[in-house]
């Protein structure tokens, strides 16, 4: 199928009509429309397909035509909250709308979506009404906004680059400093820039500023040359230098000194959104691997590939369960979501890395070494994930946010906190709209750990019903036991930063914690679907996902029945044949 966008205006009208009420059905419909507009990704003649996008990546050129299509289709309005005139109702629904883009190209999804979301979220969370309406107008008009951190690691680190805002005795504040790698510095209509406003380094040293480059005095802001990055090669990164640049008094987003806290509050959502959307980029790699493994027999893959293929599919479902739960929590229990949401980013990037490893063996086999589209997709994704902050450095940045909070959670939340209200899993309950102002950093709550305790109890009561449900209960108990061990170990952590907080032991604790909350999300998703008739209602996928999480955690658990692999594999092959996505929705994809 070729792209179905007849003309820009008709595309836009179609999407706006589809918006209607901002519930799940319309968001999924917009996602499907977008998928249709972008056309069959496997069609080599499609200008928005894998082949074309791979060429842009190789040539380090942005895919302007596809970017225009997305702008015209109203991608910008997806990033603007409903109360500011856009279509952003909930973060989990935004993830669904972004997935068709990420499935085709991570750089495109970042450039046309999440990069602007990183910057705009600060304005939705802490900006004043004028700032909010100007950013809304920019995005609704198809423009971009980008964030300029001081050499920010994904969670908020500081590097050699940076900006300083000084206030001379006689006048307006002036900005100095530079940074070399900023996404879309050249194309953004606005910046959210983090500048040092205090002389001493510390958690209150930086402030966020909203700047309109067109309104800055000439010659004080200079665009530096494009930076060459190892991944996301089609994205345009370049540098910015400010030299004694006067900045308006009303440029502050929130109060002075709140920059780090603001970044921590809003990054949790955007990083999780990114990780959750990127799972869609693994979809075509798994699809290629299934094709490769079934090339010689139409029915079923060779025996040695059955476990890895079914296993990766189960891991993708676990990633989706985790991302959706955390993004829904941002609407439902924003004050209880911070640490689990950062852990979700950490775990999803780890699980996707593992998935690419397992799939590389399938793709690397049987004479299909190294050439063609499947390998191109896999290699590109392997480059793009670290560049998008979902690699080693990104993991360390997540751990830096998780570790200092584990002690508090162990003391005040785990095994104490009440179960969250219904609505975090499944789709049966309408959720409140996302309100960025309610996002918190550093609560003493953890909705997923609280859910796990309740879930284990419920499943224990139902054990008599079915042997596989009983097995699920034993997994739930296993992870609850792991949380109990973690509680003891995390209570012993220091309260303040020091060598004993930054060592390998605490890095391992954050990893084990991530596995526990992932298990909780899998159990929650299964419980929400239990009474339905879908594939997700069967415990098989959850058992397979949990058994892989338990193996990674090193928890002693019973062996899973072999028919779990068979059931999940059957579903995988069926979705492959019918062209449906490898996520919880399983929606039909354009082909």
């Amino acid at each position: 199928m070729t792209p179905s966008a007849d003309s820009p205006s008709s595309s836009r009208n179609t999407l706006e009509q589809a918006a209607g009420t901002h519930d799940r059905a319309t968001a999924l419909r917009r996602a499907a429309l977008l998928d249709g507009m972008l056309g069959d990704p496997l069609d080599p003649g499609n200008p928005h397909g894998f082949t074309a996008l791979a060429e842009f990546d190789r040539d380090r050129r942005p895919p302007v035509e596809t970017e225009q299509l997305l702008a015209v289709a109203g991608m910008g309005s997806e990033l603007v909250p409903v109360r500011h005139g856009g279509m952003l109702a909930r973060a989990d629904l935004l993830m669904r709308v972004l997935r068709p883009v990420f499935r085709r190209d991570v750089a495109l999804g970042l450039g046309c979506g999440i990069s602007s979301s990183f910057a705009a979220s600060a304005v939705w969370a802490a900006g004043n009404a004028t700032q909010q309406s100007s950013v809304a107008a920019l995005l609704l008009g198809g423009g971009r906004i980008t964030v300029v951190h001081p050499g920010l690691g994904p969670a908020g680190g500081v590097s050699r680059d940076g900006f300083t805002l000084r206030r001379p005795a006689d006048g307006r504040p002036v900005l100095d400093g530079c940074k070399d790698v900023i996404m879309d510095a050249e194309r953004a209509g606005a910046f959210v820039l983090h500048a040092a406003t205090a002389t001493a380094a510390g958690p209150h040293s930086h402030s966020a500023l909203l700047l309109d480059p067109a309104r800055l005095p000439a010659g004080r802001m200079r665009l530096l040359p494009r930076a060459v990055t190892p991944g996301l090669r089609a994205a345009v990164f370049s540098g910015l230098r400010f030299t004694r640049c006067p900045v308006p008094e009303n440029a502050f987003v929130g109060r002075a000194g709140e920059g780090v806290a603001l970044a921590l509050r809003t990054n949790q959502i955007n990083r999780c959104l990114l990780a959750g959307a990127v799972t869609a980029a693994v979809d075509p790699v798994l699809r290629s691997a299934v094709s490769a493994a079934t090339a010689n027999s139409a029915a079923s893959p060779a025996r040695r590939w059955r476990r890895p293929l079914a296993g990766v599919f189960a891991d993708l479902l676990a990633c989706d369960a985790l991302a959706q739960a955390c993004l829904r929590a941002a609407s439902l229990v924003p004050e209880r979501a911070h640490v689990p949401t950062v852990a979700a980013t950490y775990m999803i990037s780890a699980l996707l890395g593992d998935a690419l490893d397992e799939l590389s063996a399938v793709l690397g086999s049987a004479g299909r070494q190294g050439d063609g589209l499947p390998h191109g997709l896999l290699a590109k994704l392997t480059r793009d994930l670290p560049a998008a902050g979902l690699g080693r450095a990104g993991a360390a940045a997540c751990q830096a946010v998780i570790v200092p909070q584990l002690r508090t959670l162990a003391n005040r939340s785990w095994f104490v906190e009440a179960e969250p209200p219904p609505g975090l899993f499944g789709e049966s309950i309408d959720l409140p709209r996302l309100d960025h102002r309610l996002l918190t950093f550093a609560g003493d709550a953890d909705f997923l750990a609280a859910y796990l305790a309740g879930s284990a109890e419920r499943i224990a009561c139902a054990r008599a019903a079915d042997g596989r449900t009983a097995l699920l209960g034993r997994f739930a108990d296993g992870f609850l036991g792991e949380l109990r061990v973690l509680r003891e170990q995390c209570r012993a952590l220091p309260g303040r930063f020091g060598a004993s907080m930054s060592g390998p032991w605490t890095a391992a604790l954050s990893d084990r914690y991530g596995l526990v909350v992932t298990a909780a999300a899998v159990l929650g998703t299964w419980e929400a679907e239990e009474d339905g008739a879908s594939f997700l209602a069967d415990p098989g996928w959850a058992l397979l996902a949990l058994s892989r999480l338990a193996y990674r955690a090193g928890i002693e658990v019973p062996n899973r029945p072999e028919d779990c692999v068979t059931g999940v594999l059957d579903e995988l092959l069926s979705r492959q044949r019918t062209g449906r996505g490898f996520d919880l929705d399983g929606a039909e994809l354009t082909r």
């Binding site: 050499g151 500081v158 921590l264 004479g367 360390a396 060592g503 990674r552 955690a553």
Partner: protein, 251 residues
């Protein structure tokens, strides 16, 4: 870095180590369940060697490290994605490999092990490798087969896929014992499944204790993380310190 020893050398340390349970961590149950004392001691010694080697390289205490396993069994240091480790043993020999530049795989076999040429030809060798083996005979053939077998094991262990990758599907460059060889365009893969860059893989085969062959495959992962996302430190200490100070409501 590759380190080898015999489990016998570690036996006194195993018996007297008061922190053995702590050091073995999640492997303690498996250690306890293993009936055969030789297998049990070798299992424990291998894990202690790995932890002590990594601890020395990272300038930390071995008890700080948590050894975990990926799906498929590849060991890794939990929470430290910057470090790659590999473990092998045969008879009394234990070998540990550790790398900060990318994937590493180690394998070991007794030099006395004799492989069947027929099996090697049908199950292990590519046509090119068959031709190389066809050109030698006697002890040279035995040694060449053992080198090839252990190098293929090391390479697949580095990729993390164990025996799921068929040995007949990739060529290993010709390695002379004691020397390092790198890959040409021989169809080897990078860990992402794409063709490996020229010279990205380094292979070596070495004699250990005069009676074992130790083979190593090491991938040099370039490029590094972009400047955008910080350096390659084990921990993002700057961020952690900021977060911690913010939590403590420090100025």
């Amino acid at each position: 870095m590759v380190v080898f020893t015999t489990w016998g050398e570690w036996l006194p340390a195993l018996v007297t180590e008061p922190r053995l349970r702590h050091l073995l961590g999640r492997d303690w149950q498996r250690y306890r369940r293993t009936g055969d004392p030789t297998v049990r001691h070798r299992f424990a010694a291998a894990r202690l060697l790995l932890k002590h080697t990594a601890a020395a390289a990272l300038e930390t205490d071995a008890a700080e490290l948590d050894l975990a396993y990926k799906i498929g069994g590849r060991p890794h240091l939990r929470g430290l994605r910057q470090i790659d480790v590999s473990l092998a043993h045969t008879d009394e020999l234990i070998v540990v490999g550790i790398s900060r530049t990318g994937r590493i795989g180690v394998d070991a076999e007794p030099l006395s092990r004799s492989l069947s040429l027929d099996v090697m030809r049908s199950r292990v060798c590519t046509p090119g490798e068959q031709a190389v083996l066809g050109a030698v005979e006697g002890p040279a053939l035995t040694a060449a087969m053992l080198r090839l077998w252990t190098l293929k094991e090391a390479y697949t262990k580095a990729l993390g896929q164990g025996l799921r990758l068929l040995f007949t599907e990739f060529d290993i460059p010709h390695v002379i014992e004691g020397e390092i060889a790198t890959n040409g365009h021989s169809g080897l893969l990078a860990p992402d499944g794409a063709p490996a860059a020229l010279d990205a893989w380094a292979f070596g085969a070495y004699r250990a204790l005069d009676r074992y062959l130790v083979s190593v495959a090491c991938h040099d992962a370039v490029p590094a993380a972009p400047p955008e996302f910080g350096g390659d430190g084990l921990c993002d200490e700057e961020s952690m310190s900021l977060v911690s100070r913010l939590l403590c409501q420090e100025p």
